[in-house]
Each structure stands twice: as structure tokens, then as C-alpha cells.
Assembly symmetry: C2
Homo-oligomer: 233 residues x 2
Amino acid sequence: MKREAVSMSDTLSKIQSLADLLTEKQLLELRRNLTIHKYSKNELIYNEGDVPMSLLCLISGKVKVYKSGVGGRTQIIRVIKPVQYLGYRAYFANQNYVTAASAFETSYICKIPMDLVYHWMEENIKLSLFFVRQLSLDLGVSDQRTVSLTQKHIRGRLAEALLFLQESYGLEEDGATLSIYLTREDLANLSNMTTANAIRTLSSFAAEKIVAIDGRKIKIIDMDAIKKISKIG
Amino acid sequence: MKREAVSMSDTLSKIQSLADLLTEKQLLELRRNLTIHKYSKNELIYNEGDVPMSLLCLISGKVKVYKSGVGGRTQIIRVIKPVQYLGYRAYFANQNYVTAASAFETSYICKIPMDLVYHWMEENIKLSLFFVRQLSLDLGVSDQRTVSLTQKHIRGRLAEALLFLQESYGLEEDGATLSIYLTREDLANLSNMTTANAIRTLSSFAAEKIVAIDGRKIKIIDMDAIKKISKIG
DNA sequence: CAAAAATTATGTTTTAAAACATATTTCAGT
DNA sequence: ACTGAAATATGTTTTAAAACATAATTTTTG
């Protein structure tokens, strides 16, 4: 498990695909204005209502974007893996953040002043189109998620969450264990259910030999079954 | 009630704010490539899985964008009023449509070939930034909606739907009657509930003198009560 | 290392909403 | 204007999931 800090050159190589879109001048400005920040496990990165100031890019670690709803219940809206960008929507919409973000585990995030990014966009079509594409992908996921979370039953929602985690963070060397260890509460907040129901439903999956659980480790035994449960809802 | 067809010059004046972003050359291309289409009540405009070919702009009428989920249940994702654009997300994300759209009532829609629009975007920053903004607003609404639909109770969801319809389509001259007449089924699909529950819950609101119903006409009597019910969920 | 706190686990009860059923009314097409 | 279909209305039953409760672990922290 790597534990070292992230250097500037590490960071620049990670955001290469964004940097490639920039002009020489913009690249220089990027180097001058980019900052790197460490967030510990469960540390808040931004909160609902905050003014969006920076484009964030997750360099290493894992992050959740969530929203608190009725009676303080939390819904995880999306999860972020390296190297993905976040925090841009609210700025473009001229709003304060309507979501919050925090680190699942120790994470390094680089920040680029959003005013600067927007400035670049005004003279850099490729960068603008990059965000058009990102936002379009995000919106598709969000619309799909609305329907899944409202219409699927508990088992379907949990199965979908497991698939979602697998797609987002992948599997360990055994090719079966999810590479992220979430609390049951996070799993519940991802699947729109109560913590007790996440625990119960996951136990059922284990009893049915669909998954094997060892604390927070979840090993997927029968992927087809999970896909089927997710699909039929 | 206006019933006439929509002319090219009507249309051009409606899409003025988009046209203003274009160069002279692009404006000429727009005039040559823009087409106007009439859709009757309940007519399908595009379907899930279709290849997105055109940027659509609703010139007159009312349109719903929806998604069919588990067991064919329909969720209305958003409603469109004149002059709003639709149909662009899937193209930008390089996907087929994941939603469908149809007309609540007779609607005129103008179509502009999406390849052309994208071409313009590649040489027109303002146009690109227009879509960045649109997508960002859409995404904010979608994320908010995910939480509302999953966490609010039936009464809260219906109240929210009524507010949403009021914001989208406004009120009639009496300053109280919603300017859109939906079937109870559409109201249910907007609020994530069964038709029977939409009927029942709306009847309750009427019994509580929060609204007055006359067929599909819904008159809002106690706006504060509706806002409160929506808020507390 | 031990105590406190948080998390996981399960059983039971309650509740909200769906499913089912059946009239009644309204609407659309001939 | 008539007729079948669609939409509305309302009552009853069933079911899924939340709420509540309590205990056993595990994790964190002083």
C-alpha cells in the first residue's frame, strides 16, 4: 500500500490529459497556480452551500460526492476515482455547491482556480468541449441513477451498488474482492436504504453464496447473479 | 388559445438568444438547415436507444422527457417549456438516447442537425459555453431530483411536482390554476408513485383545501402549505 | 491496554406505498 | 349521439422497507 505524499511532477503526469488540451501559456499558468492537498479519511473536501473556487482533480485515493436530504439522510450521488475531476458543475451553473464531497480514504487532490480554468475555456475550445463531454456523461449517469434508485427494490439497489463499486474502483489481485472497503452505512447511502437494511441484505447475499464478506471486504462470488439481481430490480 | 402553425420567422425570433451566439456564416447555415416539426398530443419525439441527430428546441407547446425503468414503469425526468433546448446530452456523450421525449400537447419543435451544431461549437466558444452552462444546470436539477424522489414521502413528492409544474409552466390568469392539464398518470410518473396514489393523494390535498381540482385542472389554494409539505418531505 | 465509541448483526413491530379490485365518470372515435 | 376505451375514484389487502430494540463485535482513542 503506497503511503507517500504526491509530488508536483506526479500530479502533472496524472493530469496530463487535461494539460494536453492547454496552450503553452496556459500550461505555464497551470504550473504556477496548481496546488496539492491531502485529505485524511472522512475529511470534508467541500460542503453544500460552499462557493466553488477550484477545479478539483483526484490524484490518488477515493472520494464520495453526496447530498443530504430529508431528515439528514445522506445520498451518495457519485464516487470518484483517480484521475477524475470534480467540483466544476456548480461553478459553471453559477451556483454554490449543492453537494458535498469527502474522502473515503486518504486522498490527494490538486486544485486549480476555477476562474483561471474558465478563462482558459474562453480561449480554448478543446478545454470547453472536454467539460461539455464530462457534464454530458455525468448527466446521463445521474438520470439513470434517479430511475434505478427510485424503482429498484432493495436487493436490486444493493446489487447495482456493488457493480458500481466494481466498475469504479476495480478488484484486488484475486479478481473478486472489491478494491474499496466501505462501512455498511456508506453502502446504504450509496444504495438508498437504511444501514440496517444494507447489513441485512448483504448478509442475505452472503448466505446465498453470491458474495463472501469478511468485515468490510466484499468478495464477489457470483457475478452473474449480481448482474441479474441488479437488472430485474 | 393559439392554434396556428409556426412559421420560420416565428421560430427564428424564438431562438434569438441562441442565434445571437452565432457568427454571420453560422447564422446563414442555421437558416438553411433548420426545420420545423409539429408533434400532436402524446406523439413521440424521440425514443430511448435512438441515435441523436438533431438539437431540438421547443418553440411552442409542452414536452416531457422520460425514462422507462423496471417493469416498464415510467419516470418523467424533466419537463420542457418554450423556449428550451433538448436532445443534446446524448450526442455530446457519444451515446444513443437514454431517455425518450413526447409532447404533452400539440408542440412545434425546430431541429438543427447536431453535427452542424458541434461544428459550430468547435469554432465558437460562446456556443460551447452555452451548452456547458445548460448541462451544468440540468445536472444540478437531476442530482437534486434523485434525492427528492428517493427520500420524500408521497405527499412531499406530489407537492414538489405541483411546485415544479408551476415553476415550469406557470399559472393561468386567475393566478392560481396550473397552466398544464396532466393526466393523473403523468402526475404519478412525475412524482414517482402509482397512478392510484396520485389520484388519492391529490384528492386528499383537495379535501384539505390545499388545492381545488376540476378534472385535470388543478388550482392551488394554499401555496404555503404545498411548499411546506414539499419541504418536509 | 482498556474504555468508549462506532459498527455490525438480528429480531420484532410499524408504516408507507404498492397491488389488487371494482365502480363510476370522462373522453375519443365512428 | 352512441359506444368502447381510457381515466378517475375509492375501498381492501398485501408487501417492502423503515423504525425500533438490543446485543455482539470491531475500531478508535485517551
